[in-house]
């Protein structure tokens, strides 16, 4: 069942451990003993095991055995650091460790240290460190920058990193890797233990855990292969399957029945909006008054903790949740996982399925509920992939430079550093192994003075090289402000949602209970009076008071603003490939429900079913516009990027594109030009349109201007310390930050396009937000495999995509077009005929009629007297 790469003698477990296992009716698992053997031999080790394998105990066993065998007495310093991505996990582990420690009578002190730990206790922890400290990557970074770090860390023998698979591909992972390298320098005999769920490429995690300078290239691997195969069912319906939409709300009755048949069910939804919808639908039919709760990232923290506690006590029958419950505390009672909508990836499905059942030898049970016809195929593909144990590849990314900048300043805050020595330490961390010396020097210079070609900030330097060659912090204020800005998570600007207590003028409104938070952009699109669903109820937006959204309960059951999005994962490469294959092969359609089979059959008849290696492009007229639909099946993010680039090219080809929408499967572009005809008569070449060269200048030009780059830049600027998150004493509102970083971005891009921070932002954007790699792979694949089908009307396959128009955001960068439209419609509204608006007579339009101008047409000589100051009389001509 498990494998060890090195056949070291398994040490005999000390008697009191054997007795303790026996007293609980357990016997030590093979992998627990193997991990103990590797760790006792002074090796770095990685344990890969599914949920329920006793991973955490395995991780701590070497430490507990060492502490039991060789008691260290009072204040011997930290022996083991445990780092988890979740605060809650650190707290939960402390509780779980209490039991073996007290039952075996071990003299071991275990303490947690997170952002919630009171300052007094944190101070005491520095003076009298516990034997085992449970903490988070952010706290590790903070401790690194403490002048007492050397003393605190010199005793550390082991670092246990939990949920390594979730941490390593992120900026928090970069931060932790750097902190670990620093701790290694202070604690010469330190070894690591990594705990991870099953991953596609364990070697990346094995490399992450070691310092190659210490003679181990990869951590020893102990792998527990999955127990029983999961039992994954796909919900089938005789009723009409939705053509589009992603909430799967139509299946609420079936989900409710499933909840009734099980002890405890986790209902996973892909976005917060869908979680809200599913929660409301379930309660609408909850005739038995089952305790069903809601859990997502926007709800108030206390609210979430309450749900978690109730879950821990087994008081709930179901929790409707989002990815907030992907990781975390194991709840033994969960015996069913429902996935509303497609899981979008095999790893996610396996991870979520694993949340049901915590015994290795029993199958975990999951029910997938496809939200629309495409998702039926997708769920089928995800099930196949999961049963085959296929994991989605998480592309290894080089360490982020903004995180490195934060780290370098942190190191200086802790103690003066030698640049060469620190470089050697940094490249010993896996994410930074490829970092060249020159770039590192740039990072140091950026930390010192901003790293600009135009010098001038030398006299304000944050760190300076002194005569002994060491870099030192210029003054204590810098360390103080660094501490306030530590961390790599830059939250989207969130506004608190609060009940308004009294009605009346906005200024005198008193605030009531906080319901949770919403992203600022969501509020931006609402008008007072709009209703939306939040926390399971329909709320009315009353006003924005300072930084809080005031709401009241709305009487209506149907909110006006349909969705509050928040987090959407694109279809993974693996599932996408399976979907392409499933669609291409009519022999396999028999496994699909009748409605889906018929739909694909119609597509075959009316248009075409593309082969897996083909790119199908359809063109057809509809509603006075011309549509071009391409079906790359590469996920939303890649399609959005493609859409931005294609519309630029279509514009140049004079196809007059007006907008596009991207889904996980396809993208639809519409415009005024007849693209079908243009392709037919050779004015437009599909090969040229989809040529790989679009990743050159077009991409550059688009990225430079895009709001997405500005947002990414803002995150990098904050992490790197260019912009402060907070000032001592006052919290800067992120709205102000947003404004100034956009301006800074514009100026920097013009004057120093190759600046470190712009490079960091570009790297982030191309990896995450625009999925550049997939776009590139797709373009290479599509080359010479494009099939064009000019159609008279919309094809069956295109129906779901066009139904998404209006639901999904429509893209286009032209803010001016929006401004023009607003100016026109609002002015028309303002000057509309009597009876439609009461303003017409009372309000003289003060300024000349709306005028727009184009800079290129600006001729100062032209007579200003022609400024068209007429105004239609009320009810007059339009």
């Amino acid at each position: 069942m498990s494998t060890a790469r090195r056949a070291e003698a398994v040490p005999v477990l000390p008697d009191r451990f054997t007795r303790w296992f026996a007293s609980r009716g357990w016997s030590p698992r093979t992998h627990q003993l193997e991990l103990l053997a590797h760790a006792s031999a002074g090796r770095d080790a990685l344990l890969i095991a599914p949920t329920g394998a006793g991973k955490t105990l395995a991780g701590f066993l070497p430490t507990l055995v060492e502490l039991a065998e060789a008691p260290r007495g009072e204040s011997a310093g930290i022996h083991t650091l445990y780092v988890s991505p979740l605060k809650a996990l650190a707290v939960d582990i402390a509780r779980n460790l209490e039991r073996p420690v007290s039952e075996m009578g071990l003299d071991v002190r275990v303490e947690g240290r997170t952002g919630d730990t009171p300052a007094s206790r944190r101070q005491r922890q520095k003076r009298q460190p516990p034997d085992i400290l449970l903490t988070t990557p952010e706290q590790m970074a903070l401790l690194i920058g403490d002048p007492g770090a050397g003393r605190l860390f010199e005793t550390v023998k082991r670092v246990v990193v939990d949920e390594l698979h979730a941490l390593s591909p992120t900026k928090r992972g970069d931060q932790l890797a750097l902190a670990l390298a620093r701790v290694r320098a202070m604690a010469p005999s330190l070894t690591t233990v990594g705990l991870s769920a099953t991953v596609k490429t364990p070697d990346e995690l094995r490399r992450w855990l070691v310092d190659p300078r210490r003679g181990q290239d990869l951590a020893d691997l102990v792998e527990v292969h999955g127990g029983a195969a999961p039992d994954i069912a796909i919900h089938e319906t005789d009723e009409r399957l939705p053509w589009a939409g992603h909430s799967a709300a139509h299946a609420a009755p079936a989900v409710y029945e499933a909840i009734k048949r099980h002890r405890t069910t986790l209902v996973f939804c892909n976005t917060r909006a869908f979680a809200e919808i599913a929660f409301q639908e379930l309660w609408r039919i909850n005739e038995d008054n089952l305790p069903i709760a809601l859990h997502h990232g926007s709800l108030d923290v206390n609210q979430r903790r309450k749900v978690e506690a109730a879950m821990g006590e087994g008081r709930l029958r179901a929790v409707v949740c989002t990815s907030t419950l992907d990781l975390g505390i194991d709840w033994g009672d969960v015996d069913l996982v429902v996935q509303m909508g497609s899981p979008k990836g095999s790893s996610r499905l396996l991870q979520r399925t694993g949340r049901a059942n915590h015994r290795l030898d029993e199958p975990s049970k999951a029910l997938l509920v496809p939200a629309n016809r495409f998702e039926v195929i997708e769920c089928e593909a995800a099930r196949e992939a999961a049963l085959a144990g296929e994991q989605d590849a998480e592309a290894a990314k080089p360490g982020s430079l903004d995180v490195l900048a934060q780290h370098v300043l942190g190191v200086a805050c802790g103690a003066p550093f030698d640049e060469d020595a620190l470089y050697g330490e940094v490249v010993s961390a896996a994410p930074y192994a490829e970092l060249d010396r020159k770039t590192f020097a740039e990072v140091v210079r950026f930390v010192a003075t901003g790293g600009y070609a135009l010098r001038g900030y030398e006299r304000f330097a944050k760190i300076r090289q002194t005569k002994d060659g060491l870099w030192r912090v210029s003054n204590p204020m810098i360390a103080q402000s660094w501490r306030l800005n530590v961390g790599t998570i830059v939250e989207a600007t969130m506004l608190k949602v609060r009940f308004a207590r009294s009605k009346g003028p906005v200024g005198r409104m008193a605030g009531g209970r906080v319901v949770g938070q919403v992203e600022e952009y969501f509020v931006e699109t609402m008008t007072p009076g709009d209703t939306f669903m939040f926390g399971g109820e329909v709320l009315r937006y009353v006003a924005l008071v300072e930084n809080e959204v005031f709401v009241t309960r709305a009487a209506s059951e149907t909110p006006k603003v349909a969705v509050y999005a928040g987090g959407k994962m694109p279809l993974t490469t693996g599932i996408a490939a399976r979907v392409r294959e499933a669609i291409a092969d009519p022999l396999r359609w028999s496994a699909l429900p009748r409605q889906v089979r018929e739909w694909l059959g119609f597509q075959q008849e009316r248009s075409e079913i593309p082969r897996p290696d083909q790119l199908l492009v359809e063109t057809f007229p509809r509603g006075g516009r011309h549509f071009l639909i391409a079906y790359p099946f590469e996920g939303r993010l890649a399609h959005q990027t493609l859409g931005m680039l294609l519309t630029r090219r279509l514009e140049r080809a004079r196809a007059q594109p007006l907008g596009f929408v991207a889904t996980d499967y396809a993208l639809a572009v519409w415009g005024l030009g007849d693209m079908g005809e243009m392709i037919a008569d050779g004015r437009l070449s599909l090969d040229d349109l989809f040529d790989q060269d679009m990743l050159g200048d077009d991409l550059e030009a688009w990225m430079a201007e895009s709001a997405l780059m500005k947002r990414t830049f803002r995150n990098c600027a904050i992490i790197a310390g260019l912009i402060e998150r907070r000032f001592p004493g006052k919290e800067k509102t992120s709205r102000q930050v947003t404004m100034s970083t956009d301006l800074v971005y514009d100026v920097l891009r013009r004057h120093e396009p190759d600046h470190l921070l712009l490079r960091a932002a570009r790297a982030d954007a191309s990896r995450g937000l625009i999925d550049l790699e997939r776009v590139a792979e797709f373009l290479a694949r599509a080359k010479a495999h494009i099939v064009h089908r000019p159609l008279e009307r919309i094809s069956p396959l295109a129906v779901p995509i066009l139904l998404d128009v209006g639901r999904e955001q429509v893209y286009g960068e032209a803010q001016d077009a929006l401004l023009r439209e607003a100016a026109e419609t609002l002015v028309e509204e303002a000057m509309g005929p009597i009876g439609q608006t009461p303003r017409t007579e009372a309000a003289p339009v003060p300024t000349p009629l709306l005028r727009t101008t184009d800079r290129r047409n600006l001729k100062p000589k032209s007579p200003l007297t022609r400024s068209l100051r007429s105004r239609p009389s009320p009810g007059g001509e339009r």
Binding site: L454, G456, R750, L818, L819, R839, V845, T847, N857, S867
Partner: protein, 237 residues
């Protein structure tokens, strides 16, 4: 009254009137008064980058060059007889002394052959040293009064800065937030011209009481054009 219906030759620069005086609105965020030949800008906030650098936030040191560059393009276009900066021309009192040599030369070149007036602002109450031009606390231009901070109850014809107006509107689920001129025909507040000058929404209470609500318009600055949006169409942040 659709714009697209207008013939192309009507594409001339937009003009607005304040207390009866016609002012040309430039998309860069400046006003031009053709009769006197005065180009008016507000809140340049020169040397804001270096001001932040003193506190350890190393904003790119190119803001002054960027702002002066924009100003140079306007000067090129309008060839104004006078340039009037409505206060907060420097981000802080030490700004003039931190001005780099190249920027100082660029400023001098702009001033050559024309009047240059620094109106005092709250960030720069003292006349900027070694920066040329004349310094005034406020001034008049025909029926217009030019000052930094708009004054409640001022007589019609006030041109001011200080507030950094931006306007926001939401359309089709997208928000657009742009710098703007805020006016009701009696008074106008100019957008901040400086490269690093942020903005304050015209629906903020700081604008309260300055404008006749019914007549309020925000002239929003797009990339290529200026768009007059009636106040009722605007959103708070």
């Amino acid at each position: 009254m659709s714009l697209s219906a207008l013939p192309a030759e009507d594409q001339i620069e937009p003009t607005l009137r304040v207390a009866g005086v016609a002012l040309t609105v430039d998309v860069a965020g400046a006003l031009y008064e053709p009769r006197s030949g005065a180009l008016i800008v507000a809140d340049l906030h020169l040397e804001k980058g270096s001001s932040f650098a003193r506190r350890g936030q190393f904003l790119p040191p190119y803001d002054t060059a960027t702002t002066l560059g924009r100003l140079a393009r306007l000067v090129e276009t309008y060839r104004p007889k006078a340039v009037i900066a409505l206060g907060d021309s420097f981000h802080d009192g030490g700004g003039p002394s931190r001005l780099g040599e190249a920027d100082r030369a660029a400023l001098a070149a702009l001033q050559r052959g024309r009047d240059w007036i620094w109106i005092a602002g709250n960030h720069d109450p003292e006349p900027p040293a070694r920066c040329g031009g004349a310094a005034l606390s406020e001034m008049t231009l025909g029926p217009l009064t030019l000052r930094h901070e708009p004054q409640a109850g001022a007589r019609p014809g006030e041109l001011a800065g200080h507030l950094h107006p931006v306007a926001r509107l939401a359309l089709r689920g997208r928000g657009v937030r742009r710098r703007c001129f805020a006016t009701d025909g009696a008074r106008i507040v100019l957008p901040a011209f400086g490269a690093y000058a942020g903005g304050l929404n015209v629906r903020d209470q700081a604008f309260g009481g300055l404008f006749a609500a019914d007549a309020f318009m925000a002239w929003m600055l797009g990339e290529t054009g200026v768009y007059a949006i009636p106040g009722f169409g605007l959103r708070p942040d």
